[in-house]
Symmetry: C2
Subunit: 432 residues, 2 copies
């Protein structure tokens, strides 16, 4: 079982340099060094490598206080483009980014209910990509890679969508279909990891090394950041907070368990809460998730008592769910993201704020900050563009660690048997 190597450190340092450049747009090496606490020599080496690869470029000079001019650096938009694909419940969206992570263009196709087969999805992706590349002939040959976000449990190493609880995918072989649809190297991941990557690069990750990003949408989940890195777990499915228990033996969840957080805090959970409060409420019939939430909010503002109670109760559930994360992980910070915050963020925030102290142990809550970020729904594609960029950098020999996806090495001196691996001889086998 190997410790971290100096290569790992180099990769983590490269990540911090890149993140500083992307977050601050134009920086000197001295500013990078101040922000990252890396030595000036290390920064010079790492920036040099990235300039040589064309990912960064010089952007003029500024005079330092002593009067000596010093070089500015920025991401190089001319280096090429990245495709970011967001496959959601109801649509497929493809965004085109340049290497400075500026969004150039976007295409979107609706997914008819029941049409969520891998063939349809791949065809929609191909359609969007072709349209985009047709509109941008200047990028021909310059697309460096694509990042594709797929719902459910995605294994980026095996390129397989292991399990999509809301769909009917089980062990779907994605690689062939997607690589055929997209004419560049493809990196797959799930929306939780994409959002958390965005938060690590551009959000709370710049201020905290231990934090959780909570995503509220049709599905709900969390990104767990430990020591400045995204926790992926054994098979890239860490963060499935939506499928932890809120009420044992409670509502049936899309995953097959009962009483999961998602069944109370996800959109269908909010709908179920409203139905418990007002079984005949007219909004229960609104099928589209965003319409439902938007109209629920309007009803709440207009004084609809059932809508108000449903939102309050959702806030109570959310506070308990966040309290669980805080008590278990004792993070410095929690970011609440996801499209639901755009519509219902203020109401949920107020209720969580009222309740959170009761839901957290005194120790962890005394040092905690919580921030609700009104998201515009672009977080997943931004995160996938970052992951596509990281995959490209890895291919050219400049890896950064939030893309580290090597599966756990085989254990030395032991062997981690798959499945339930209770040793022969029963429970008393290990006694201390």
């Amino acid at each position: 079982m190997a410790a971290k190597s100096s290569k790992d450190i180099r990769n983590e340092s490269r990540f911090m340099v890149l993140r500083t450049v992307f977050a601050q747009h134009t920086v000197t090496r001295a500013q990078i060094s101040a922000e990252t606490a890396l030595s000036p020599a290390t920064v010079t080496t790492l920036v040099g490598e990235l300039v040589e690869e064309g990912v960064l470029r010089e952007a003029g000079q500024v005079s330092s206080q002593g009067g000596r001019p010093t070089t500015l650096f920025q991401a190089n938009p001319g280096r090429g483009a990245l495709l970011a694909v967001d496959v959601a419940e109801t649509y497929v969206r493809v965004d085109l980014f340049d290497v400075s992570l500026a969004r150039l263009d976007q295409e979107r196709m609706e997914l008819a209910p029941g049409a969520q087969t891998i063939e349809t999805v791949a065809e929609h992706i191909r359609g969007c990509v072709e349209t985009l590349l047709h509109r941008h002939p200047e990028l021909e040959g310059d697309v460096l890679g694509a990042g594709i976000s797929l719902p459910g449990q995605v294994d980026p190493v095996r390129g397989v969508d292991v399990f999509a609880p809301n769909w009917d995918w089980h062990e779907v072989p994605l690689c062939a279909a997607l690589e055929e649809a997209v004419p560049v190297p493809v990196r797959v991941d799930n929306p939780l990891m994409a959002l958390a990557t965005g938060e690590l690069w551009f959000g709370a990750g710049r201020r905290f090394r231990q934090f959780v990003s909570v995503n509220l949408g049709t599905g709900v989940g969390a990104g767990i950041i430990v020591d400045g890195q995204l926790l992926r777990g054994r098979g890239n499915s860490a963060g499935e907070w939506g499928h932890t228990t809120l009420i044992w033996n409670g509502r049936t969840c899309s995953c097959g368990r009962s009483g999961c957080v998602e069944a109370y805090v996800g959109v269908e959970g909010i709908r179920a809460t409203l139905a418990e409060i007002a079984p005949e409420h007219e909004l229960l019939e609104v099928p589209h998730h965003r319409d439902f939430i938007e109209r629920l909010m309007r009803a709440e503002v207009a004084g609809d008592a059932a809508a108000q109670r449903a939102l309050l109760r959702t806030g109570d559930y959310l506070a308990a769910g966040i309290g669980n994360l805080v008590n278990l992980l004792n993070p410095e910070h929690v970011s609440v993201l996801g499209w639901i915050t755009r519509y219902a963020g203020a109401e949920l925030h107020d209720r969580v704020r009222e309740r959170i102290a009761q839901e957290c142990l005194p120790g962890p809550s005394s040092t905690l900050s919580i921030e609700f970020t009104e998201a515009d729904g672009e977080g997943v594609s931004l995160g996938m563009a970052v992951l596509a960029l990281e995959a490209f950098l890895e291919r050219v020999g400049l890896p950064s660690p939030s893309s580290a996806l090597t599966p756990a090495p085989p254990a030395s001196g032991g062997g981690s048997a798959p499945g339930w691996a209770v040793p022969h001889g029963g429970l008393a086998a290990r006694r201390r």
Copy 2:
């Protein structure tokens, strides 16, 4: 926000060398290198430092296959002794270890209910320590340090027991009282961290880099190991799985919340389950926790239907609680420890085994192993002896990282405000 330094790597490597020596008792440098994947040169340096400090010593020679003799190393029991103090609900126990972590002796005093003040506890610790040192005059001046495990949320940096839910301690200043009671440098921690440290050094930590150790006792909790290191969180209270929700608005928990895992899986939780099934059951009157569990098991074996149902239901709760950890963290492995496993491990194990697949998402459960370890209750003191040894090594300039306790550095470019730190301007302040 600094990346890992090469000093961190050195410390982690030292930890792996120490762990290998302690686990295998007598090893060659080549064996250490094979076990840790560290280079022979690194192993030679690290072993050399530890020999120089007297923590390791040469232990003869063996012939390698080529015939050339090679040196064996082992921990040096003659280097000194360590005190490990376990302050539990009903007793104070002090164990004496040598530096090879062999247990030399033990003293124990009962704590009367209601006598859990810091003064009484300190006095009991002092009594036990004095008795032990009196019995071992040969150790005079050779006790290198003490590790003291205290229930509740302990802050090893500030030396304060922040919050003990089952007792009535809030922000108790421990240092003065304990340092007066124990004539050597003191390292405080909580039993969860102590148990997880033991598991990291001697148990699953030798086979897995991502795992969770679950502790079942009067209180319940978890040790979370990420990338080979114990997750402590912002204020050393990570792992409070016992105070995450199993049933929202359910049973009142000792922490003040409702429906926590501990209120179902801890001893008083099992008692409450039995009371729900058979409100007049005679075992409900057994006050002592171990007696209660032991007699419950005897009743179960004798065919007492209520006892059988209570244990089954406890297994169901436990499976759901473990499922939550698995879904959230996607670990390679879960170790179930704690004194309850000594009495009820086989029954709980069988039920968890039956139920766990239903409680876990298919991805994480397909690669998971779970092991119930019949513990003899010595885990906490062993873990505290390890932590005391680590604290000693840190004082002599040879730190190993599972003792890393520096609080999170102030964030660069941000500032992590304490408390609820929603930015001025409200929720829409950050929009992406």
